[in-house]
């Protein structure tokens, strides 16, 4: 049985004079991976931040477990959701294990040290993301793919009900991209909800149960990948021509090969 965990109701966000989001409705359900796609500047990050309660909305509201998120206790909010920042920075050369431990913070009082149960969660998260062997390394010595998986482990260690990830795989090689997506799929399969901003449309189509397509702050469509990704939409939203190929499992592969004529006119 699926259950709605988080719901954006008619959310608008304005930054300065720019309208980043325009009355977007979107909900996260247990067991589902929702992909957030759209060109650069279409409002993916703003929507994720608004849904994580990190961004004030100028219209509408976000609801977490039947409560307006602005009225939620920040600790409860921290326990319920894990937010994976775009190019997440780590400011001190922390050892990997300590970094992943930080994920337990919403469960700890101000002066508490992580207890044995916390340690077990940290261990599990490290194993789940295949970073157990890195646990003694310093985060500054990791490669991009390793760091990304460690940051995901940090989120998983907090045992959130949902994960909000902002382009976590943009800088990764294909193998690491698949590894991260597999971890998220496992998380969803175990009853979690995931919303993830993506640029790689093939991966979005392969892993996401639903896709939400944004253009200049408007939610164009939210539906299954096969319904969202069509040649016509890719042309009108991204300004690209692409070949779409379906494999035997009805899974879509998107290969862009040219700009549309309108897009060519705009580019220098």
């Amino acid at each position: 049985m699926t259950e709605t965990l988080l719901e954006a109701r008619s959310v608008s966000v304005t930054m300065g004079s720019i309208q980043c989001l325009n009355r977007v409705d979107l909900s996260l359900k247990t067991g589902e991976i929702t992909g957030l796609i759209g060109p650069n500047g279409s409002g993916k990050s703003s929507l994720l931040k608004a849904m994580a309660g990190l961004q004030k909305t100028t219209h509408g509201s976000v609801w977490l477990a039947g409560k307006n998120i602005t009225h939620c206790d920040s600790r409860e909010r921290g326990k319920a959701m894990g937010y994976l920042e775009q190019n997440g920075d780590v400011h001190w050369p922390l050892p990997v294990k300590r970094l992943v431990e930080l994920g337990r913070i919403p469960h700890l009082q101000g002066w508490q040290s992580p207890c044995e149960q916390d340690q077990r969660r940290v261990e599990a998260a490290l194993k789940q993301t295949d970073t157990w062997h890195l646990r003694e390394r310093t985060v500054t010595t990791l490669s991009g793919g390793e760091k990304c998986r460690v940051l995901l482990a940090r989120v998983l260690a907090g045992e959130p009900k949902m994960i909000l990830a902002d382009e976590p795989i943009a800088a990764l090689d294909p193998a690491h991209q698949l590894m991260v997506m597999e971890s998220l799929r496992q998380f969803a399969a175990a009853g979690g909800a995931v919303i993830i901003a993506l640029h790689d449309l093939s991966i979005a189509a392969r892993y996401c149960d639903r896709l939400a397509l944004l253009k200049e702050g408007d939610l164009i469509i939210k539906a299954s990948p096969n319904d969202v990704i069509t040649e016509a939409r890719l042309a009108s939203v991204y300004g690209i021509k692409a070949t779409l190929r379906r494999d035997e499992n009805d899974c879509l592969t998107v290969t862009p090969y040219a700009l549309t004529d309108e897009a060519k006119l705009l580019s220098p």
Binding site: L54, S74, G78, E85, H91, W92, G110
Partner: protein, 325 residues
Amino acid sequence: MWLGLLMGSVIVLFFISLTVGRHSFSLWQTVQELLAQEQSVYTLILIELRLPRSLVAVIVGATLGLCGAAMQGLLRNPLASPGILGSSSGAALFSVIVLYFGFHAISPWLLPIAGMAGALLAIVLVYALTGNDSTITTIILAGVAINAIAAACISLAINLAPSPYAVREIALWTLGDLSKVSLTNLWLMLPTTLIGWLMLIGCGQALNALSLGEQTAASMGVNVARLRWRIFLATALAVGAAVATVGAIGFIGLVIPHLLRPLVGYEPRRLLFASALGGAVMLLLADISVRLIPSQIPLQVGVLTALVGAPFFLYLIVKLRKELP
């Protein structure tokens, strides 16, 4: 392990500090006299002169170390410290005004409060000048500016002060000196210092979260704006009281968190307590040294911390410049 070692050093150095002075006498015998409630010159020297000096050294050192660690954690900048960011000199300026113009006659508590106000004003000014995601250069520049303004105003205020002795004491405020503290000073500084410490100790978890950046910390339930004000206020309370009592002793808040960070696995929360201990060790060591170095006129303890700290500061700048593009 390291914490135990630091704590042991604080205790040992504290007792050594009690035995160091112009005159040497048996600490053990004097303590026995004290227990027998006999009064002698030695018990007076111990209780009224050396004990407050050593205790204040521990408290001020701990304050500076702790506040340095908290500021570095908050701004995620290894160069942040009460001295560099101007809170010390802001506190010194306000204390100078309250002291030398007789306002403390209204109430002695005005002194630590003035120190706090000065420290708070300075740090808020630096923060307003540099903003949130400031680079190291802008932070240092803002700190230099605030320090220069405060130093000029301290000079001006002391030159205008009614006391003919005031002029010679500018250096006391800009370098810091422990030689004239009494138990009265200790009682005056204690309440605000303790409030500041307590406010900071609870910040550990949030500072840990901040090492992943403000957005992520906020997503984990940290109210970053409230944390910032809490740390500004807490450091102002503790540093203000410390500076109002002994002047602006420099570089402890910069050096100590840096040296100890690798030992606590770079974790900001554990660095807080460790830096408090480390700061106490550094100031005790410096204060013992100034009393052991033979000199005609008593040396100021800030001279030593600056002699150690300033080259370290330069080394840090060079090191950070190499690490950054």
